[in-house]
Symmetry: C2
Subunit: 380 residues, 2 copies
DNA sequence: TATAATAATGGGAGCGCTCCCAATAAACTT
DNA sequence: AAGTTTATTGGGAGCGCTCCCATTATTATA
């Protein structure tokens, strides 16, 4: 049915090997020959069989994207669609394909080993949120190249993340600077790393300014709008004057609850979210939120993973991507007079040291993208 | 690195072929032998190499899922996440994997042929919205098994869809029954099939009851909330007393616009959406909408595609999945007295014949799922 | 018990590619 | 011009599996 290398070879009067060289951009081909072969390939719309290539070369140019499904918020939170989009685009750009696994909540051994050993995937991007995820351990023990979206609390693995602690510390500071005294927070599930980190940032910010932690103002959400709504309803009796929600979707839920309680935003309660998902600017009032470049992180994960695949045994990578506080109306900064100078341009008026102390920076900081801090640590 | 069939064979004292038989559930193996081999496989956590299997057998158990990206609403509309989820789950259940392509808006030849000829994919699920999509034509001309999510206007291809015309006819009728006289509609982009069909249903409903089509009450949206909002703002000067939005996300946008115009829902303007996405019940007031089982459609697509792959040359399948009008507050049916009997239970008080007249029903209607009408047509 | 069926197993060929090495062609040296 | 070096090219082997056919073990039948 489909053409083979041999067919193309015959049609262009060269050997199988030469065609292979042309396809793989091997330099040892005379320009004239290359053109001749290329024309036939173009002409016949030839695609090399990836299964055969995978078998022979041990490399398929397929990247596995593993996302823990079962979490309800996959449906309502644009996080995963954006991530998938970023990954997919980058794969296209780098001539790779993406294999998608929405893994069951409790990965069975079978699923994991299927992902690891099917011989089809060159590497894996894992968007694992959990503190203690069996698949991370399996991957870590295997020799399959992989990268996490989101740092891991204990294992030294390749990852790409935002500095959640620093970012939410900054977000909370922003609320403190608006003279808010009773700042509540709606966290994500406690067994998730990002969620934990964002809570830590909140704690640090309070601590930075010697504000007491009021435990009645801390509530665990589940990333969903309904969860944010429910949490805010339980928070309101304790009269918070601000709330930091660990993602935008919960912030939207909180906003509904605040409205229903006949309170004004931001006058009575200021709200800050996290993510800057597309709908953040469409809440009433528009949501102040910590932007993280989800799509870029997906793309960066692909590029880094490909690099890891190309350079096995290299140092493990920790990549932190910059966040940015996007100030809209919901936090009150635009209506009340600011304390200091042009804070809206640089809302951070202090220096927070890099948080991820696990790793020592020995970096190769020279990077085309100044937003990205790359660091390498200990040889794997 | 990874184990091979040969390794398992050696370890269990049989031949490569026998192990292969065990793995592929071939019946010609003595039960005792099967158990022995199975134990070793289990024990070593063996996974056959899919690339090799693909090469040798010409079948990989990989299904391609192609989604036109670039459309902005991928981010904000839960449609695609739900579809992906449905497809992925069904693939897991049937021991298949899914390869994801978010195709660029204008598929380049290269992309298409990459999808078709990479030799990795047994079949393709295509969620193509466009009236005239080059990739559909390519697939139709190729011998790659594929199924469309959403019918095709001209080509006779395998597809699974809801009866959009009938469903929106029913939704519009529901508004008419609430004594609405100036029913507006916000459609999707005109070059998309589902969008076209839903508009046709709207037209038919008006026609059914001899209501005039007021062209100033018809506006094209782009499936997004912002689009729905903008459209509604332009609609309001013409004083509609109801609006049928072609999806829930646009309905949500319309609701915002209506609120801002200080109009009441449903008293001044009734709103009906389409999809019943998770957030439909969270609008203010909760949205009446036509539910389509997106996730099930994804799963059904997988199952049908596998069946098509297993039975090449069989008749082409047209599967229509039932929709259901979910009545909440936004349409006014729950506050004004109903015209007739228990309409909320069966809001359709007339018989609309099946719309898809292209195909003659010769069906194998006996199906475990009564919601699904299967029909087969003309041998391919 | 011999013989014909049938059940169970083993091994070769080959899927379409890459990799390696040998063979040939072209370009330099002296 | 002969000898080297270097740039191209061709072909064999083999990746790990399935498929087919030959072989052997087992059972049924005469």
């Amino acid at each position: 049915m489909a053409l083979t290398l041999e067919d193309i070879a015959r049609l262009s009067g060269v050997s199988r090997s030469t065609v292979s060289r042309v396809i793989n951009a091997n330099s040892n081909v005379k320009e004239e020959t290359r053109q001749k072969v290329l024309k036939v390939i173009q002409n016949k719309n030839f695609q090399p069989n990836l299964a055969a290539r995978g078998l022979a070369a041990g490399r398929t140019n397929i990247i596995g994207l593993v996302i823990p499904a079962g979490v309800a918020f996959i449906f309502t939170d644009p996080y995963f669609p954006l991530l998938i989009q970023g990954v997919s685009e980058a794969c296209n750009a780098h001539d790779h394909s993406v294999m998608l696994w929405l893994a069951e909540p409790e990965y069975e051994r079978r699923t994991i080993s299927q992902i690891l050993h099917n011989g089809l995937v060159d590497g894996v991007i894992l968007s694992s949120a959990l503190m203690d995820d069996p698949i991370v351990k399996s991957l870590h023990e295997s020799k399959m190249p992989f990268i996490l979206i989101g740092r891991h609390p204990t294992l030294e693995v390749n990852y790409i993340d935002v500095d959640n602690i620093r970012a939410s510390r900054e977000a909370t500071h922003h609320l403190i600077r608006q003279s808010r005294k009773r700042i509540a927070t709606i966290t994500g599930p406690h067994n998730q790393i990002a969620s934990y980190d964002r809570y830590q940032g909140y704690l640090k910010a309070l601590n930075d300014r010697n504000l007491p932690l009021l435990s009645e103002l801390v509530l665990e959400g589940d990333w969903t709008e309904a969860g944010g709504y429910a949490a805010m309803n339980r928070l309101i009796p304790y009269k918070p004057d601000a709330v930091f929600a660990a993602n935008d979707v919960m912030a939207a839920g909180a906003i509904s609850a605040i409205h229903e309680a006949q309170l004004r935003i931001p006058e009575d309660v200021a709200v800050v979210g996290f993510d800057d998902t597309p709908n953040a600017s469409r809440t009433q009032p528009p949501l102040t939120t910590m932007r993280q470049p989800i799509q870029s992180m997906g793309a960066l994960a692909v590029e880094t993973l490909i690099d890891i695949i190309d350079h096995p045994g290299s140092d493990s990578r920790s990549i932190l991507v910059a966040t940015e506080l996007v100030i809209r109306e919901s936090c009150g900064a635009l209506i009340s007079k600011p304390e200091g100078g042009d804070e809206s341009k640089n809302p951070v008026d202090y220096q927070i040291p890099p948080v991820n102390q696990l790793h020592q920076s020995v970096g190769n900081p020279a990077d085309e993208n100044p937003n990205i801090l790359r660091r390498r640590v200990k040889n794997a």
